[in-house]
């Protein structure tokens, strides 16, 4: 087993597309690192470079104490689970699991033992003589996991392994992957565009956008203190509300621009008051949907635009009553529980939890 380190890694494709810029990221031994980001963010590129499937344009990738830049995929001692599983269609499950071991020239009895152990661990024993086309999506996914595990590699790479499964199965297998990874303690780099998967699976999360690393850290830290507005809006479902803000002329209250919401600084926590004193120009504030509540400090009147009821909670999109035209520019989403469900067009009073207020400068970077 071994850690993984990206050292100033660049990737530019022959057509000039820059997929990754100066990526510096280190994954600890036995850690599960989730690379998350939107399409084109560079997360799959980062994984393919680590696998050796694409050549690197600049920088170095290390696995353990070895720079693997010049090593072909088969010599990196890694295993990968692909989005479409990439099971060999002409081989039975058993042959699929045996394939990497045969390539390692492991003896016949050792191969059989490892295949049987892995199959038992993943509940694949009854399926060993079937071919991939005779399996369900979840079973195929398990075989793909098995083929990666049977090698006992230094590093696991997973490229959106759950995206072809239905929602219920995804939750179940997500838990299984987390359990297996912890039990085997093999360093894992896991790519997904699904932030729920990232939050629930990762020991740490690395958020990538437009080929650049935005932030890396434990899920809760990223959720609570996003380094910039991109991370703030990307993580969480729905993401953080980002609103233009400023201080009132007498610098005694915080004004959420275009929403007519004015909160006396005295109502805000010490941290916010101190920060506000140093602010000169306009800035941005971020509020998670759960920061709003009907009965909290100074409230303001909002008009309900849409309500999505999830049973145990409601995601209510509102706009300030002062904004009569609407149109989404000033809309924000609040996560509300209890009480009567609102109807579209209804006016409600909302206050906010100052503890959850985050400040970003005009470039979108976190302040304070």
């Amino acid at each position: 087993m071994a850690g993984v380190e990206y050292r100033h890694v660049d990737k530019t494709y022959p057509d000039g597309t820059r997929a990754l810029s100066n990526l510096c990221l280190s994954v600890g031994d036995g850690e599960l690192m989730v690379l998350v980001g939107p399409s084109g963010g560079g997360k799959s590129t980062a994984l393919r470079l680590l696998a050796g499937l694409d050549p690197i344009s600049g920088g170095e990738i290390w696995i353990g104490d070895e720079c693997v830049n010049a090593l072909s995929p088969q010599r990196r001692d890694i295993a990968m689970v692909f989005q479409n599983y990439a099971l060999y269609p002409h081989m039975t499950v058993r042959r699929n699991l045996e394939f990497p071991l045969r390539m390692m020239r492991l003896g016949r009895s050792a191969t059989a033992a490892r295949v049987n152990d892995t199959a038992a661990l993943l509940g694949l024993t009854p399926l060993l003589e079937r071919r991939p086309r005779e399996l369900s999506g979840g079973q195929r996914q398990r075989v793909a996991m098995g083929r990666a595990m049977v090698r006992q590699p230094r590093v696991f790479l997973m490229d959106e392994p759950l995206s072809n499964l239905d929602a219920a199965l995804r939750t179940q297998i997500r838990a299984e992957i987390a359990g297996l990874q912890r039990r085997l303690a093999i360093t894992t780099v896991y790519v997904t565009h699904d932030q729920v998967e990232a939050m629930t699976l990762g020991d740490r999360i690395a958020v990538l956008n437009a080929g650049r690393l935005q932030q890396v850290g434990p899920p809760q830290v990223l959720y609570d203190r996003p380094a910039n507005t991109f991370v703030a809006e990307f993580l969480g479902n729905p993401g953080m509300n980002i609103l233009a803000a400023g201080l009132s002329r007498d610098r005694r209250s915080l004004q959420l621009r275009s929403s007519g919401w004015e909160i006396p600084l005295a109502e805000l926590p010490q941290r916010c008051r101190e920060l506000a004193q140093h602010l000169a120009g306009p800035f941005l504030v971020g509020l998670r949907p759960e920061a709003f509540s009907p009965r909290l400090g100074t409230t303001t009147e909002m008009i309900v635009e849409t309500v999505e009821s999830l049973g145990h909670e409601r995601l209510v999109t509102v706009r300030p009553a002062a904004d009569t035209k609407g149109g989404g520019q000033t809309s924000l989403v609040a996560r509300l529980r209890g009480g009567q469900a609102e109807g579209a067009g209804q006016k409600i009073e909302l206050g906010l939890d100052g503890e959850q207020l985050r400040f970003f400068d005009e470039q979108g970077d976190l302040m304070g």
């Binding site: 499937l53 088969q74 295993a79 990968m80 692909f82 989005q83 479409n84 990439a86 269609p89």
Partner: protein
């Protein structure tokens, strides 16, 4: 016109077309069982397609008049070698064009595609000069070697491989397989359709090869069936029944191979997107 009548009309048209296309073979098949005198006598009537008295005499005659088995063996050997070696060479070339990154690949691919339009007749004379220089005339080798590498086959393999999911090969590489191992263990077993298509197409084109064998062979010991039937045709006495029997036996292997591989062939043609 009602749709039923329209369908009936279309089917009748198709049936007539089908009969038209099959009639030469039916004529040959019927003729091959008839006494020689009746073949031409009945040629203008419906009985041309119907052997009233069945006899295998014409087939026996073929074997007594020429060494048919020898020619058949020559043809099978030459075509078997062209098809077998051709599959290996052209599949590997197609794979290299589709998947491996090497300098000058795109230029080479354009050249290979350009070569597709050059017919054998155009290069026959310089090629003849070349093989004469090597002293290869009148051998099996000279009838096999120039036809192993085939631009059209490479192109078919190339289009098929480029459409295969890349992840399969990537999985194999990560699992520890090298390029050749990946090709033989993972690609080849999943590309049976294109192999069948290329095998059939190569066999069909080469089975009837005439000009090149005529130029480079002179002894019967290495000559294939198309040359033999030409010689047989001019061998007195002119016996149409015998010629038809010879023709039937020459067509039979092609039909058999096509029937056996037909399911894969159809899939392969569909997958590579080629049209007949």
């Amino acid at each position: 016109m009602t749709s039923r009548a329209a369908i009936a009309l279309v089917y009748t048209g198709l049936l007539l077309m089908g009969l038209l296309f099959i009639s030469p073979i039916a004529f040959m098949l019927a003729g091959s069982f008839k006494p020689d005198a009746r073949v031409l006598m009945e040629a203008g009537e419906w009985r041309a397609f119907w052997p009233a008295e069945m006899s295998l005499q014409n087939y026996r005659d073929v074997f007594t008049r020429v060494d048919f088995a020898r020619f058949l063996w020559n043809s099978l050997l030459i075509n078997g070698a062209i098809v077998g070696l051709g599959l290996l060479v052209n599949a590997l070339a197609g794979y290299a064009f589709a998947r491996l990154a090497w300098r000058g690949r795109d230029l080479m691919l354009s050249l290979v595609l350009a070569v597709m339009i050059i017919p054998i007749e155009a290069i026959a004379v310089p090629l003849f000069y070349l093989v004469s220089l090597f002293g290869w005339r009148d051998t099996y080798l000279v009838q096999i070697l120039p036809f192993i590498a085939n631009a059209f086959s490479i192109y078919l393999f190339y289009t098929y491989f480029i459409g295969m999911p890349r992840e399969l090969e990537e999985a194999a590489r990560i699992d520890g397989a090298g390029v050749l191992r990946t090709f033989f263990s993972v690609i080849l077993p999943n590309a049976k359709a294109v192999f069948a298509s290329v095998a059939i197409l190569t066999f069909l084109t080469q089975w009837g090869a005439f000009l090149w064998p005529l130029m480079v062979t002179s002894s019967e010991s290495v000559r294939p069936l198309p040359l033999a039937i030409a010689t047989f045709h001019s061998l007195p006495p002119l016996q149409w029944g015998d010629i038809f029997a010879f023709g039937m036996m020459m067509v039979l292997p092609v039909l058999l191979i096509f029937l056996v591989f037909q399911p894969w062939f159809v899939r392969g043609v569909a997958a590579t997107g080629i049209k007949g």
